[in-house]
């Protein structure tokens, strides 16, 4: 599977970022495994330490398995002054996990992010590709319940 994804791109180093994006997006646990790194390293003919260097530099990549829904809560100043801390507390309680952890059922991972560029609706979080703005504690409850119900 990793080989197939690599094969869609020319074997040049500048495609590394894209290959990583696609491998992570198509993995059910949204992460880049050691095995994947090895396959990419063979394909692009670049050492795996370069790949780990890149992988750990960018905030969107993970080397640890993650949940089905990745929650990224913005903690930058405009969201912070609109109460992102309260939203974080609420999320931690509702999910019963800390930042960086995944729920037991594998449904949610909680992460913090820098400005997501949707500050007009602060406080903001993204769940996978969807943006949720103007968050309140009640709204967080609704969103989590809805996703839990829909699985």
């Amino acid at each position: 599977m990793y080989k197939e994804i690599c094969g869609k791109y020319a074997p040049t180093k500048d495609n590394l970022i894209y290959i990583l994006h696609e491998i992570q997006d198509t993995h059910p646990q949204h992460y880049i495994s050691e095995e994947a790194v090895q396959v990419i390293s063979d394909y692009l003919k670049i050492p795996s330490n370069h790949i780990y260097g890149v992988l750990t530099f960018y905030s969107m990549y993970s080397t640890k398995p993650r949940g089905k829904n990745i929650i990224r809560l913005c903690e930058s100043p405009p969201c912070y002054i609109k109460g992102s801390d309260n939203i974080l507390r609420k999320l931690k309680n509702a999910l019963n996990i800390k930042v960086g952890e995944t729920t037991q059922d594998g449904l949610f991972t909680l992460e913090l992010a820098a400005c997501l560029g949707v500050c007009g609706n602060a406080p903001v979080m993204m769940i996978n590709d969807d943006v949720y703005g103007d968050l309140t504690e009640e709204k967080v409850d609704e969103i989590i319940t809805k996703i839990r119900g829909g699985k």
């Binding site: 260097g53 930058s76 100043p77 002054i81 500050c119 943006v131």
Partner: protein, 520 residues
């Protein structure tokens, strides 16, 4: 052509998509049809409308009424009251007094003149408002030197933060002989509170493409990359769609307009790192590396992507170019100030009546921007400070509300115009908290390449955390200034050189807050 009595502009953006705008539009169409109004009322899906209401927002022309947070269940009332009987639905209006309309300055706009008016997904609509005329002119009636000279004459300065003259930048790259040259568009927009580039791209993607084309022609680049942050999914889709349309219409590709000039534009997606907005870090990232900045000189204009000459410009900078080429530098010089001609796009956030997006003449005062474009302070709130320019910006107190907003004037206050983000704080909000949040951001975003910034951001965060917890002293406050100054002098790139801005402006303008909290 059909004559419509009213046009309903529906803002399609990340927020309204999340609120289910696509289903909403379908239902609205049904209801309009049900009343046989389809020949009279036009529904137009468009980009940003210029204000951030909650949920789904509509603007109706020619009435110039803004509705916000409109839901499916409101549709029957809206259609029968407003579109059938001509009575405005007050309860859904953004400002029911009708006095404030954030859209009043269309004729003063350059970058946003089509935003919220044309359908950004249709090249025909862009062509219909004179789009790509500048591209044709640049390619067929102007020499590359002529284009550079015109942009130089316009005085256009980079809108990505530093304000470097665009024409001058191009003039370094244009005469170089090289096998390959590139244009790179900086659409990595990571400065907290900034999202003007997103709205420019969502609202009028073709205008940006046209600017890129002209720039490429001027400097002799045959390939352009748009480096855009991964979160901006709607922009990415719209730009890809727009590029495809251009290829179909022969505006991109080989031998464009039989001129012998080839150009290809491609989108590259970032992976989440603020420092990648720095032009050399961005180039590293494009090459598939960690986004650590490079030493300058050589500047990218001479040695950039894969060592080829590369012009890096911000989205807003390039979006100004079609106007300049089509109408001439003289027209552009009518806007703004002599040192900083043109307009600036701002996003205004925080405790103002109407947070939103606006395009204002360079040199307008902060007071004007807040009062006239954002409707003043929100009811019941008093102005305390504005963070201008994001985390790398400055905190301005009330006594500086009359400072002119342009690169030249703000520099005199040791400030930068930066990204165009204006975050307004009310009297209950704490400057210490704000600074804490800013320094937490820098600690997280330092790329770690050089020690002044890697260690400095860490120390600044510890100090401000201590102060915030009420355990600090005024010596700690002074120490923050010393550290940030040292970072300013010794850091490798502008990221490490920026925290001094927020720190100095906070301490100078709100010293009593630091005295208070440290003497508890």
């Amino acid at each position: 052509m059909k004559y419509f009595r009213s046009h309903i502009l529906v803002g399609i953006n990340e927020t309204s998509v999340a609120a289910g705008v696509h289903d909403f539009v379908a239902e609205l169409r049904q209801e309009i049809n049900k009343h046989s109004l389809q020949e009279e009322i036009n529904i137009l899906e468009t980009g940003p409308l210029g204000f951030f209401g909650k949920g789904i927002c509509l603007t109706v022309f020619p009435e110039n009424v803004n509705y916000e947070n409109v839901k499916s269940e409101d549709i029957p009332e809206l259609v029968s009251e407003h579109f059938l009987k001509g009575r405005l639905v007050k309860r859904l209006m953004l400002d029911s007094s009708g006095k404030f309309s954030p859209k009043f300055n269309y004729d003063q706009r350059i970058v946003l003149r089509n935003s919220g008016i044309i359908d950004p997904e249709s090249i025909d609509e862009y062509l219909g408002v004179g789009g790509y005329e500048a591209w044709e002119k640049a390619l067929l009636n102007m020499t590359p030197e002529g284009i550079v000279a015109e942009v130089k004459k316009s005085g256009l300065r980079g809108r990505g933060g530093a304000g470097f003259p665009a024409g001058l930048k191009w003039s370094f790259t244009a005469p170089l002989k090289a096998e390959q040259k590139y244009v790179v568009v900086n659409a990595d927009e990571g400065e907290p509170g900034t999202f003007k580039d997103r709205l420019i791209m969502e609202g009028d993607p073709h205008q940006l493409l046209e600017g890129i084309m002209i720039c490429a022609r001027a400097v002799g680049a045959t390939k352009a990359w748009i480096y855009i942050r991964g979160e901006y999914k709607l922009c990415i889709n719209r730009l890809n769609h727009a590029i495809e349309q251009c290829k179909e219409y022969g505006l991109l590709g080989r031998n464009i307009f039989e001129s012998g000039f080839d150009l290809d534009i491609e989108i590259k997606i970032g992976a989440g790192a603020y420092v990648c907005g720095e032009e050399t870090a961005l180039i590293e990232s494009l090459e598939g590396n960690r986004g650590n900045p490079r030493w300058k000189p050589p500047f990218p204009g001479v040695e950039g992507l894969w060592k080829y000459p590369t012009v890096v410009n911000n989205v807003e900078t390039l979006a100004n170019v079609p106007y300049i080429i089509k109408n001439g530098a003289e027209e552009f010089l009518k806007y703004g100030t002599p040192e900083c001609p043109g307009t600036k796009v701002y996003t205004i956030l925080g405790d103002v009546a109407h947070p939103g997006l606006c395009e204002v003449d360079m040199g307008a005062t902060l007071r004007t921007v807040i009062n006239e474009y954002a409707g003043g302070m929100k009811k019941g709130f008093k102005f305390k400070a504005a963070l201008v320019g994001g985390a790398a910006g400055v905190i301005l107190p009330e006594k500086m509300l009359d400072v002119k907003m342009d690169f030249h004037s703000l520099n005199q206050y040791a400030a930068v115009l930066g990204s165009g983000a204006i975050l307004v704080m009310n009297e209950h909000q704490s400057i210490v908290d704000m600074l804490w949040s800013i320094l937490r951001f820098f600690r997280h975003e330092s790329c770690g390449k050089c020690s002044p910034c890697r260690n400095g951001t860490q120390q600044l965060y510890s100090l401000i955390s201590k102060i915030k917890a009420g355990e600090g002293t005024m010596d700690d406050v002074e120490l923050m200034l010393t550290i940030a100054q040292t970072m300013q002098q010794t850091s490798f790139c502008a990221l490490g050189q920026s925290p001094i801005m927020a720190i100095r402006s906070a301490i100078e303008n709100f010293r009593e807050e630091f005295v208070d909290i440290t003497s508890k």
